[in-house]
Amino acid sequence: MVSAGTTSEALRWIPLLPLAAAVFHGVMLAFVRRPTPRWVTIALSCGSVALSFAVACVAFWELRGLAPESRLLVDNLYTWIGAGIGDQAFSAELAFVLDPISAVMALVVTGVGTLIHVYSIGYMDDDHREDRGFQRFFCYLNLFTFSMLVLVLANNLVLMFVGWEGVGLCSYLLIGFWYSDRFNAYCGSKAFIVNRIGDFAFLVGIFLVFRALADLGAPSVAFADIEKHVSQLAGLTISVPAWMPFGPEWSLVTTVALCMFVGACGKSAQIPLHVWLPDAMAGPTPVSALIHAATMVTAGVYLVCRLSFLFAAAPAASAVVAWVGGLTAIFAATVAVTQTDIKKVLAYSTVSQLGYMFLAEGCGGYSAALFHLGTHAFFKALLFMAAGAVILAMHHEQDIEKMGGLHRRIWRTHIVFLIGVLAIAGAPGFSGFFSKDEVLVAAYTSHVPGHQWLYAIGVATAGLTAFYMFRLYFQVFWGESRVPEQQRDRMRDAAPVVIYPLWVLAFFSIFAGFAGLPQAYGDWFRGWGVEESNSLANFLGPALVAGEGHALSHSTEYAMALATVFLAATGAVLAWVLYVRRPGLPVRIARRAGVVYRLVRDKYYVDEVYDAAVVRPLVRVSDRVLFRGVDAGLIDGAAVNGMARAIRGIAANGLKYAQSGLTQVYIFFMLVGAVALVGYLVR
Amino acid sequence: MPVEVVIKALFILAVVIGAFAPILTWVERKQSAVMQDRIGANRADVAGIRILGLFHPVADVIKLMTKEDVVPQGANRVMHLMAPLIAAVPAVISYAVIPFGAVYTFGAREISLVVADPDWGLLYIFAIGSIATYGTIMAGWSSNNNWSMLGGLRASAQMISYEVTMGLSVVGVFMVFQTLKLSDMALAQDSTFRLLGFVDVLFGVPLPAWLDWLRLPHWGIFVQPLAFVMFLTAIMAENKRPPFDMPEGESEIVAGYHTEYSGMRFGLFFMSEFIEVIVIAGLVATLFLGGWAIPYLSQETIIGAISPVLGVGFATGACLVLHVLTFFLKVIAMIWLQMALRWSLPRFRYDQVMDLCWKVLLPLSIANVFVTGLVLLTIQGGSA
């Protein structure tokens, strides 16, 4: 059921344009033998996404023109699933809705997506392998954009799930894009399988919601309907066996919210399902930027925002969200400190920042989370793409131990990278500063159990973030060059098509923060005609549940910001000291730290633990028991062959005589049957 | 059964079987002679009077009646004897639904000049026509003669093939006239339409008034020209006369299905062919040439023109006579056309006949249905 809203038929084109391009590429790849000219591929892919961005902008403008309470654009294509009649009628529409939340997301996805598409032209330019990788890449990229937009614009959970699975698939395809390397294929599978765990929980959540709404007499999976009934849902419980924790009655809303959150964890790489994201860096760098930094991994954050009413009704679940987010943030930040692969550092940084977003959401700061999501999309995409430019310049060398002193050689890349680092580190005035501030304010003012600790974690993470980002920056661009001699002279900035999108992103990384300028700073501009500075939060407000209003005095906010900035600056200076002034020091510290260092460097052995606890037993059980025992022995041996043998025995010795080959004998038997039937009827 | 029906039936039987059919044998000989630059039949005489050889039909009948009726050895006697009857009867009774005049009102009495007028008149003709096939097949089978059987075989294949085309080719016609009732169909053709009216309908350009006078009779042949050609072809093939005389094919299979027939039974086959010629002529006239309608002069126009002078009753009567004459004039024209075709075209080869049916006429007739539907939709505003 589609709730009331302004109909806008333009909406469908936002996802459909990239789909059209993807379908074109798919057809060309699958059915046409000859390679498509590159300019066709480029024009179609980039053009479709850019056009989709334009449509999104137009739709956004239309949305802004509406009254704040009725900001909802609807495009109902057709009834996708229809079942039941009367009161029990259920229908899932193929409908797209644009409300403030999805508008922000759609703009980020198409906007950043367009830039990354353009960037990919340069990045993938040297891909001349015979499987037509260039076109294949753009096909997947377009398909991803389509899926992501379906996810974002869906008006119901089931349609969202379609997009959800679609982005998962594209992520898998793109991580393993260079599939000839077994490791890449392995990483793709890992991402896919870990995501399955989350998806399973998500699916269970959908079923639970549907079932509960059906019990309430209004079966639906549309967000609007769930929201309408959320107060009734809050009273429901699920009976579980008494031996289960918190049994025998679980609150339905909490369960659903937790299921959804597990799904979000999978997609957004939160503890304990974060293990796939660092490995996902095996894919091409534009993919890391688009999928594994800017858009797909934020789907979980988006899901929680979408269902904010549900989480608001389930404080326990919210607390879990906050704590998981906080722990992930600091956990990933510590790991990032020790990594030496440029993309791995960024990957852990992404995990950490996603943790931030969840922290905000758990604390009720949904608009803060979305704000951070947006700014993070800009600066993390920028960082990844700049890192990609570095990697290109280094001829696909990713180890920062082998870089250093690059600022002279590739100064354009250096500048944008620096902007990105400043933004993520939260340098005052940059976008990250404001959004991180909002997150911390949300944590500080929330009523989640232990919110002071969460705040402390947030601040500490901010310091760590600044430290590892500057570490990365100094390792790569400053200090002594560790690049091999002969390579050093041939290094230069990547092609303009690679660099220009970075400038655009750099611009937004600096200034995007002013879209959601907290009131505390907005007041500074009061004299300039700025009345309400926090326009993003005001824009999002009506679509989200009212957060717990933070009535902080401005001075508190300034103090908090100051503390954060101080910590961040400390981190930055520390990095400078350690990696520029005294380059020998880190090694000594690492040696001194010993076990702790190794623990952190090896990512707390999470992968190993999973391998030992889950993967290996599973493989062993599958092989020994399920394959050899059940499949080969029971199903093949007893059921299939045994049945066949039994039937052969019966048929060969007796039944075959019934098959005389004489048609009329068969007819006779048929007649006998008819007589029996009719006789029974007339008895 | 009302007397009126009996009178009408007797009238049509008299005209068709009594007058047209026997004369047709003579007409055919004469026409072929004219076309081949000969004199033609002129020898039979009664006391020296020849009147253009018109006694030949009489002589033929006498000859056929008096000849021995042979049933060959090994033949299935009953079937052999029944076959000519089954061939002839459907031809005669199809005439029951063909209107030879409109409905006339004489005071309180309404006289409709058609023997039977069911809603499904056209279907009736098709149904009856399909029965006629059996005569040929039975004749071919029961004669216990290979030539006959080959003829019967050819006839059965040819006739069921062309039946399909025949039915489909007139679908366009009854789409246009929106009826299957033959009297309604003739009535619908008693009007005219603007020749350039399509300009108005398609492009919305109103025609100048003087062009409104450029009118054609609303006849099937003008609104469904393709259907006319196809229907005439198909129904002539149904009749198995040259150029579609594969079942007889005297140069190939002696005389086909009636090789073993003699005397009046052969005569019946012969007659049924001629009667069918008349039925075809009447049917084509009704479907495509407006039946009894006089072009540009509708029934009301005629009655309206005469009645002030001579009174309504007389005017109606005069109109009736004019209509019946018009109808038979058209029938004669169509008979002439068939004769001309029969003597102009050589016989097809068997595969050509089949190709013509399945590969040319059938697709064309289906296309005709489509196009007709499209045009009708356009004219009716496309709101269907």
Partner: protein, 167 residues
């Protein structure tokens, strides 16, 4: 007893006799087919009496005009003069089949003992081609489409089965 009832019994008798003639005539397949034509025509007559005119017309057009002609065509094409088959192998089964068929008949006729309602008068224009056409192209349009597909499949199938060699 009105004329239509008399006609009904006449047609019924004709139908039964000719149907029996078809089944019992073991010497001449063509005669069997022709008997079947008589049955068809008699049934068409009964349809007319039951005021199903369109059905009657199609019964004659399709059954008598096309289907049985096709049978005859095949019989003549294969030149099956008489059934000179080898002695049968299943006399007993056939005898049993006859008995059982008669049991079926008894059972079916037993079903009929309950009185059926009198046929009501028909509304104006009932069963005309217009009404049948409208019903066909509205309520039953899917059926029409599907049967069109079926006919196409049958044409192709028949062609392939009867063709001597493909290609």
């Amino acid at each position: 007893m009105t004329a239509s009832v008399v006609f009904f019994y006449a047609f019924a008798a004709l139908a039964i006799v000719s149907a029996l003639g078809m089944v019992l005539n073991v010497r001449n397949t063509v005669a069997s087919a022709l008997s079947l034509v008589v049955t068809m025509v008699a049934l068409a007559g009964i349809y007319v009496l039951l005021e199903a005119h369109i059905v009657a017309v199609f019964q004659i057009m399709v059954y008598a005009g096309a289907i049985i002609v096709l049978f005859l065509f095949v019989v003549m094409l294969l030149n099956l003069r008489t059934d000179d088959f080898a002695p049968g192998r299943q006399k007993l089964v056939k005898l049993a089949a006859v008995v059982i068929a008669l049991v079926v008949l008894a059972e079916l006729l037993r079903l009929l003992t309950t009185g059926l309602p009198e046929a009501p008068p028909l509304p104006e224009g009932y069963g005309g081609y217009a009404q049948v056409g409208v019903a066909l192209y509205t309520d039953y349009v899917l059926l029409v489409e599907v049967s069109g597909l079926l006919l196409l499949a049958a044409i192709v199938g028949g062609l392939i089965l009867a063709k001597r060699r493909i290609g």
